[in-house]
């Protein structure tokens, strides 16, 4: 099972980042190459000075959702950043920053966490996606 998986990761809240990290780790475990393209608020969450910060939850989470997420974390669930780090140890996981989003957020590659492998444009993203699945989160 080696069909590549490409994820356009746009959202910057912890719930959506975690959902993406779970998909990445699962695909990596199954031997599928994974290519993650960080756009907009997702890229902002990968800044090294705030990757471990609280990035909030999507509005639909509400108070009950907040409590549920906090309960999982206090039970030892790994952060999305840690899940991605672990995913990189078991498979081919390439995480690239969208160059437009780098301009938008006025970021330099040195501002980003080491999880981010590089900066690329959209043409490079589509080339790597090839004929595999593309997921937008």
């Amino acid at each position: 099972m080696s069909q590549p998986l490409a994820i356009s990761l746009f959202s910057g809240t912890d719930d959506k980042l975690n959902a993406a990290a779970v998909l990445v780790a699962g695909a990596a475990a199954l031997g599928r190459p994974v290519h993650v393209f960080l756009q907009y608020w997702a890229l902002d969450a990968f800044r090294s000075d705030r990757i471990e910060a609280d990035h909030g939850l999507a509005p639909e989470a509400g108070h009950e959702g907040r409590a549920a997420v906090d309960r999982l974390r206090s039970n030892g669930q790994a952060s999305w950043a840690e899940t991605l780090r672990q995913a990189k140890t078991i498979g081919a996981v390439d995480i690239e920053a969208c160059s437009l989003s780098m301009d938008l957020l006025e970021l330099d590659p040195s501002d980003l966490d080491p999880l981010v492998d590089g900066v690329e444009g959209v043409a490079a993203f589509w080339m790597q996606a090839d004929d595999g699945q593309v997921v937008f989160i």
Binding site: M1, V22, A25, G26, A28, A29, L30, G31, L72, N75, G76, Q77, A78, T83, Q86, A87, T89, I90, G91
Partner: protein
């Protein structure tokens, strides 16, 4: 025949996808034919370990679900 299990992984209490991620890390350290026993409490693990074994080629030799909610899997490294 009793299986000779030489490697064990306690993934109890870990949420999806960590039981599979930790198992992938652990089995990478085995030589072909060696057995890894995994204990997990994630309710998705029965279907996950079957899918993971099918995709990777490692053999799921045994799986059991005791009454205490702990799932046990024995995998043979391909």
């Amino acid at each position: 025949m009793t299986l000779l299990i030489t490697h064990r992984l306690d993934a109890r209490g870990l949420a999806c996808p960590m039981p599979i991620v930790k198992s992938a890390q652990a089995i990478a350290g085995l030589v072909s034919g060696e057995l890894l026993e995994v204990l997990a409490t994630d309710p998705g693990s029965t279907k996950d370990f079957a899918a993971w074994a099918r995709a990777t080629g490692h053999e799921l030799v045994e799986q059991s679900t005791p009454d205490d909610g702990v799932y046990r899997f024995v995998l043979r490294r391909k």
